[in-house]
Subunit: 289 residues, 2 copies
């Protein structure tokens, strides 16, 4: 196992070069895709995938295309989410959003392109592996990203905007909009590392609780943070189904800590050294961005 920063540096190094798996992408499209990929962020999802793979005894190099694919999926979802017809955000990670720089049409296409490229990169890696782990990991990632996963969460987030927050809806939205993309790297990473069914399931539950803790902290930062600290405009979630709107800041803080406990509880079912994941869970609620 390596440190978070080591995994992150590995991802940063491969994220752009891996696009060449796809072949010769038209300049303007490639520019738009790379602009958003390079905009940074914590690289939490790909780091989790690499760490999960290595924890289970697998090789990070083999998992890298899947890790990068997951970051591409996360990035596409942000590009589309920021569009005027969706959240209409001008600022993301301290930089102008994709449609502000490239126009709406290119932002739509760059998002489509990143989602499609993610599957190209994974499918190509799966073919090279020659066994069924690759296709299982691809299936897992796409299911969590898909119409019962992240896109389902986005849909409810958009259609319920302005309604009175209800616990079942807030839970559904964040279980899918956020937690699904943290379950995916745990499941896929463990599958690629050769872990058994029970470990994969425990890993998924860790990702789920980590995701809820992450989202609760995000909701808190939206009301307490500044644009400078967060790299995006705070207060954008006013009409949204957030934990803070539902319960207030104190209860949301308590719930986030409770979710971290649940995440750590799931870790105890894993037969390996779980210090990396345990520390990560703690850091989630302490973050400032």
């Amino acid at each position: 196992m390596r440190t978070y920063e080591e995994y992150r540096a590995m991802v940063e190094k491969e994220l752009i070069p891996v696009l060449s798996t796809c072949g010769r992408i038209p300049d303007r499209l490639r520019e738009a895709m790379e602009y958003s990929l390079k905009a940074g962020g914590k690289r939490l999802r790909p780091v989790l995938l690499l760490a999960a793979c290595e924890a289970a005894g697998g090789r990070a190099e083999e998992a890298m295309p899947f890790a990068c694919a997951l970051e591409m999926i996360h990035t596409y979802s942000l590009i589309h989410d920021d569009l005027p017809a969706m959240d209409n955000d001008d600022l993301r990670r301290g930089k102008p959003t994709s449609h502000k720089v490239f126009g709406e049409a290119m932002a739509i296409l760059a998002g489509d392109g990143l989602l499609n490229a993610a599957t190209e990169v994974m499918a190509s890696a799966a073919l090279k592996m020659g066994d069924m782990r690759g296709i299982r990991a691809l299936e897992t990632v796409m299911r969590h990203a898909g119409v019962t996963g992240m896109i389902a969460g986005q849909t409810m987030d958009v259609t319920m905007e302005g309604e009175t927050p209800r616990e079942d809806l807030v839970s559904y939205i964040h279980a899918h909009k956020t937690a699904d993309l943290l379950e995916a790297p745990m499941e896929a990473g463990l599958i690629l590392g050769g872990a058994g069914k029970d470990a994969v399931d425990a890993g998924r539950r860790y990702g789920y609780h980590l995701g809820l803790a992450f989202q609760m902290t995000d909701d808190l930062l939206d009301v307490t943070g500044s644009a400078e600290m967060m790299g995006k405009n705070p207060g954008m979630d006013q009409n949204k189904m957030t934990w803070v709107a539902l319960k207030g800041t104190d209860a949301t803080e308590r719930d986030a800590i409770e979710q971290v406990k649940c995440a750590k509880q799931a870790l105890t079912e894993l037969p390996w050294n779980i210090g990396f994941f345990s520390d990560l869970a703690d850091s989630i609620v302490d973050r400032k961005q």
Copy 2:
């Protein structure tokens, strides 16, 4: 081998039920996805995939998820292409476009959802097959749909709008925007049917020339057809890089017939009964919608 109408009926029957592979999709999202899937069309791409699979000795039932996935990808591309920021079309296949019925946000999400669901359906089928044909077919489809395939063509179509047509650009746009999604079913269908490398390549070339013939006919219909006949507004391509804008109607008609000849030439390299594909190529240039 069956008739075109038989394959088409098989596709119509499975296209909606296959979505249940993905699980419980939120109602509004599922409605928007189904609305566009049900809007009809010729189902040319899935029919080609099933026919190619059976021509090579494979089973249409096994190829069905891939056929439906390809139609989902085609459908998502139409939804996003019709958006106000892209071609801004109100009418598609005789019905209001997705964003006119569901709003822009849902149209973006329904498009994302269909692209993602296509990979979910293929990955799930590939897992069940248990050999490498499924993942090879998935890789093939996503490559043709992707950032060096259909999305590349869309990008050039959007970025070159209003420029003076040039033969290299018109060729690039239509080779990717249109032909790639006809190469995909030939390649994937033949792979699923167990065909060898040479046959798969000949099938791909058939799809390529069929695609160019199809697009040339489409460009002709845009200047000669009516909304009633075509189910969409004609004359929408005025600022586009079309064959007619480049060469005029007479030369475009001649070129389309030449492309059909090339398509049939590629067929002669296939060791099976190719009457189905040969007849289909002829019908492409004779169509009225």
